[in-house]
């Protein structure tokens, strides 16, 4: 029973982390679009390269935020959540 519970906890945490990282698709597509547009803009106006690059990096960083939220949740699920959940399980079993 205990082993099963531990297994379910760890497995679900890993599954959850993996599912959370699906959010990585969004920023990937978004940033790809942004960089493509930036390349077009630089191709059209090579003299404004530095400004376009700066703006693009800013935009990429902001678009990355959702992906980073997912990453943070994945990290929580992998490194923090199992310990907490196992503690809770032990407490309830001990009681």
């Amino acid at each position: 029973m205990l082993e099963l519970s531990l297994g379910i906890i760890l497995g679900c945490c890993a599954l959850g982390a993996g599912a959370a990282m699906i959010a990585g698709i969004g920023p990937g597509i978004g940033e790809g679009n942004a960089v493509a547009k930036a390349c077009e803009a630089i191709g059209r106006q090579p003299e404004s390269k530095s400004e376009v690059t700066t703006t693009m990096l800013m935009g990429c960083a902001i678009a990355e935020t959702t992906g980073l939220y997912a990453l943070v949740i994945a990290i929580l699920l992998i490194f923090v959540a199992p310990g907490r959940l196992v503690n809770i399980l032990m407490n309830t079993l001990g009681k």
């Binding site: 990096l57 800013m58 960083a61 902001i62 990355e64 935020t65 980073l68 939220y69 990453l71 943070v72 990290i75 490194f79």
Partner: protein, 302 residues
């Protein structure tokens, strides 16, 4: 003259030592506190000291200590750069100092307008602290920016500044801005207001931390690979870190050098944009004029 030159050089060397010694001390602390049997694993900062306080314990951790070391290092760097300033720039270090000052002034002027010209040391401090903290991982130290608390502190400061500048046009005006454009959007407005510092903190922390995680994973994978390949060798040779020699450096250049500097720049940039976006001098002037008028009217009424 000769004597003066001599003392000048000695002071220079002392300042340089003041720059390097904190980092060396950080490495020493790291070596002393790392348990011998520790493999590669992903953990947070080490706790050096714990003090009982209300709400939560006060913890002095590796990230705090490292950021203090970086601050001391930056202080001595400033002293070194401004040591022996002359009216006519002769030394390279004076040129560097002037470059830093002029660049940050330019950046602030361009992104925030002339009303916020006094913010350039703040933005410079933010850039320096963030970049040098991230770059500490090049020395094998724990980068303070990969601790959420450190970055959350900076984001909280930015949030306080944003709120201060929004409230400058009167607290009522600030509260009213939440109900715009429609009153039932108020909860969303509140959430988006709170989300600003949180997203800033998580962005910076997430970037540095993910870099550290990926680096660690790759390093452990390479360790396993080299152990697997060199298993047949006798004695200590079997533990020779064959693949760990050059490959992690490439990742380190991206995650520590490029990403660290980029995140510092983005953090400063977002700070500037948020602060300058929260306040418009024209509106403030109009508010002041209105207030003055009401005051004079009240006086006239009396």
């Amino acid at each position: 003259m000769k004597e003066k030159n001599h003392s000048f050089k000695i002071k220079d060397i002392l300042l340089l030592l003041g720059m390097i010694l904190p980092l060396a001390a950080g490495i020493v602390i790291k070596v002393l506190t790392t348990p011998a049997s520790d493999g590669i694993e992903i953990t947070g900062a080490r706790i050096f000291f714990r003090l009982k306080l209300p709400v939560q314990d006060l913890l002095i951790t590796e990230s705090q200590v490292n950021s203090w070391l970086v601050m001391i290092s930056i202080l001595f760097l400033c002293l070194f750069l401004t040591h022996g300033l002359k009216e006519k720039a002769e030394k390279k270090r004076q040129l560097i100092a002037e470059w830093i000052v002029e660049k940050t002034d330019d950046l602030v002027q361009k992104n925030m307008g002339s009303y916020f010209a006094g913010f350039s040391p703040f933005i410079g401090a933010m850039l320096a602290l963030s970049a040098f903290s991230s770059l500490q991982s090049l020395l094998g130290l724990f980068p303070p920016t990969s601790d959420l608390n450190i970055v959350a502190g900076w984001a909280l400061l930015v949030f306080l500044l944003i709120s201060y500048y929004k409230m400058k046009c009167g607290p009522l005006h600030y509260l009213k801005s939440f109900t715009e454009p429609v009153s039932f959007l108020t909860p969303l407005n509140v959430i988006s207001e709170i989300a600003t510092p949180i997203s800033m903190a998580f962005r910076h922390y997430g970037n540095v931390m993910s870099g550290a995680v990926v680096s660690t994973l790759v390093a452990s994978a390479l360790q396993g690979l080299s152990l697997l390949l060199l298993r047949w060798l006798p004695g200590a040779l079997a533990k020779f870190p064959l693949f760990q020699i050059g490959l992690p450096a490439v990742l380190s250049i991206y995650f520590d050098l490029f990403s660290g500097c980029l995140q510092a720049f983005i953090f400063a940039m977002l700070t500037m944009l948020y602060i300058s976006g929260s306040f418009s001098p024209d509106e403030y002037n109009a508010y002041k004029a209105r207030k003055k008028r009401t005051v004079t009217q009240a006086k006239g009424g009396c």
